[in-house]
């Protein structure tokens, strides 16, 4: 550049990032669903030796395994999204294997990218128990990482083949689940692995799963749709549920979990959340179906939704450069969609997010973001805004019925210096509400994304 430069002030106050490692959980082996074998290994997609970049998950259950997925709605679907979508619809919602690589998204890679994704599927199919020589594919595939670069497919194939040998590390203990979760990671700072159990009519089921962020996170996923993003999630349960009911439960859960988070407002080409249900907890039971077993289905749907929300929130807590975890609650909207749209807008506002980073109770930015969403019939004199501390102390109203409060700035600073807090916007225009989870926008976000590829 042929221009004069002035040095940026060297006194930039860079706030230390809170460590996220305490969010990594060691879980008892018994907390995981039965009938799954997993591993994570270094196949060589990532340059650094030893870093896990390939996860393999297979259902070993004798019961048929149902599979459902929600994919990104981005117009440029990555190859693994296209392939997984096709397999799911060919198989009528059945699949028993999953292969995942991190480090390269296999997105916008043309015909070669599709061939590579199919090669991963074919090779993993061979690891499945009761494998036959039929032409049908039973493995789904996910990829995350840089867009527009080809996979090192030979290294990946070798990695998959290594699991067919005596050296296979496929196992069912915590260490195996953790390896798989680690192989999902890109800029994540800890492996996101959780488990949960629930009962339906006295039978105990388990659900466990893993996901990864940490940037390009503002998913908008639906069943077999036309979008894409860099959020990957995988949920595994030993309950038995019919494929259509599993898909309906997942779609419901997505709208109340992964579709309510934002790190940076970006919807990726690869976003996929999938769920497998292998019936291994009680192999002789018939599958839950929402038509024939409404009660069982409702319990399953509720548990899946709560678990998906837990996994989704982990992504926000580990958002690129995040130092805050902020719950945005929009109430009093005419419809859920209106509330969701406004909560989304607040959660993605660069000005709101930099103010959160600066611990500045700049509620004017919250209001400005709210008002930028067209909503007919909104009366500014009925709108209220408050900050909600997470420590159980009293909420702080900053705007009440359109009139600014005389805010105690010391108290505001106290709330905003917490790692967790909430923002509540009451629109006074209806009865519906929506909740979004977001994080702040920091120097570290710029650093991570200013030079991601190098």
């Amino acid at each position: 550049m042929s221009q004069l430069f002035k040095r940026l002030s060297s006194t930039i106050n860079i706030k230390p990032l809170p460590s996220k490692t305490h969010l990594h959980r060691v879980l008892p082996d018994s907390s995981f669903p039965a009938g799954y074998a997993l591993t994570g290994l270094h196949a060589g997609v990532k340059k650094k030796s030893g870093v896990l970049d390939l996860a393999i998950i297979i259902s070993t259950s004798k019961h048929p395994t149902s599979a459902a997925a929600c994919f990104t709605r981005n117009a440029f679907k990555a190859a693994p999204v296209v392939v997984s979508d096709e397999i799911l619809s060919r198989n009528g919602g059945r699949a028993r294997g999953l292969v995942v690589n991190s480090g390269c998204a296999n997105a916008v890679t043309g015909r070669q990218g599709l061939e590579d994704a199919w090669a991963m599927v074919n090779e993993t199919d061979k690891l499945l128990p009761h494998s036959t020589s039929s032409q049908s594919h039973n493995t789904l595939v996910m990829s995350t990482g840089v867009i527009g670069q080809r996979l090192p497919i030979q290294s990946i194939i070798k990695g998959i083949q290594s699991q067919a040998s005596a050296d296979s590390t496929l196992a069912s203990d915590f260490a195996a689940w953790e390896r798989a979760a680690k192989a999902f990671m890109t800029t994540d700072t800890f492996p996101k692995l959780r488990s949960r159990s629930f009962e339906i009519r006295g039978t105990k089921y388990r659900i466990a799963g893993m996901d990864k962020g940490a940037g390009m996170i503002h998913p908008n996923m639906g069943p077999a749709s036309t979008l894409h993003a860099t959020l990957l999630g995988c949920i595994l349960t030993d309950a038995a549920i019919s494929p259509p009911s599993l898909q309906n439960a997942l779609t419901y859960a997505m709208d109340r979990s992964f579709n309510c988070i934002s790190v940076d407002g970006e919807m990726s080409t690869n976003d996929t959340v999938l769920v497998l249900a292998n019936g291994a907890a009680a192999p002789d039971q018939v599958e839950i179906d929402e038509v024939t077993d409404k009660e069982g289905f409702e319990i399953f749907k509720r548990e899946l939704t709560a678990f998906a929300a837990e996994l989704a929130q982990l992504v926000v807590r580990d958002g690129e450069g995040a130092t805050k975890f902020v719950t945005v609650n929009v109430k009093g909207a005419p419809t859920y969609e209106d509330a969701h749209r406004i909560a989304s807008r607040i959660s993605t506002s660069a000005l709101v997010k930099t103010a959160l980073y600066g611990e500045d109770a700049n509620w004017g930015r919250v209001l400005s973001a709210t008002g930028s969403v067209p909503l007919s019939g909104l009366d500014p004199q009925k709108v209220s805004v408050s900050f909600l501390p997470s420590d159980g102390s009293a909420a702080l109203p900053v705007l009440v019925n359109g009139e600014p409060e005389n805010v105690d700035e010391g108290r505001a600073k106290e709330i905003l210096s917490l790692e967790d807090f909430g923002i509540c916007v009451e629109l006074g225009a209806g009865m519906e509400e929506a909740t979004y989870w977001t994080c702040d926008f920091s120097y570290e976000y710029v650093r991570i994304n200013g030079d991601y590829r190098s």
Copy 2:
């Protein structure tokens, strides 16, 4: 916070910001339109002594002065927006004065805010020549700065009154125009003042104006609408044009200038661009009107659009923390609205903008942003992306008909290290195109907005 911290790497490579001061222009007195007196002064809205924070602009022309404006579409209109809108409609598009303060937006200030805005209007009305004691108001008002705080109205009134005395600094030379432009500034690093001349049938007219950014910039303005933002612009000409034609010309120009820029994707509560046309260049001429003088109107509209684009681009060049000026061109869309929506999405993507800051040719992010906008009938195999250098050298295709090129990374780095360059996306889905101007997302943006109020 009760948590462990790890220090952020101290090796963050903070790129020096390019100085913007070379964009400040000293203009000849003769380049400004006739019949305007202006000044800028320190009224005390901003704490720092001597910093200009109040601009006063009055038309001294004997010809009636037409006025037109486009206001933000934010639901929470600031008081000055409500008041100016009301005056313009009461007066049928006539106004001769303008008072502007920076440092406080007078937004979300309830009933008191409206009273304060009216008080500014009343006091400035007294400065207008040929002022009568009639009840009608002839002054428009704009404010920019922090939301939710009251104006120090007594200080502002005293500032306006000072211009009624012998000490008045109202004048017509460059220094007076510059003072006014400086009083518009908030986080702007230079006063944005430009002028231009044009001819209609042998008569020479002048047009001059000023505007300010530099954050909360993603305007969406229309005539007498329901929104708001922190972009203020004021365009003054000595041409004579009827009020409805002036409004139509401004609305047309806005859609091709201020409504095509983004600094941070934020639409504010105060965004206003207004234009005054006082006929002082040729006081005896009749006003241009699009019905009776199509030729004159078309020339005026074209000149106003070009001038508005020049002013709008200055805001992007001085965007908060900006080190790049990037022209985003989306071609081959079914409609102009589709092209505009996609160009806007690319221009506001945090991942695209941090990559621009990092001079990283991460075109996958451009494509991902493109694909996140729903567009029926888009065929990924017809989409192409290229980077366009501003130095006249060859464009660099990175994606051609859906297939990634084997990109020369050295050449890509060369283009992205320029301060000015372009991104072109060809959709292959129609004949329409749109252009957007945006900047990058830097550490400095986070610094400025992480603690704006202190």
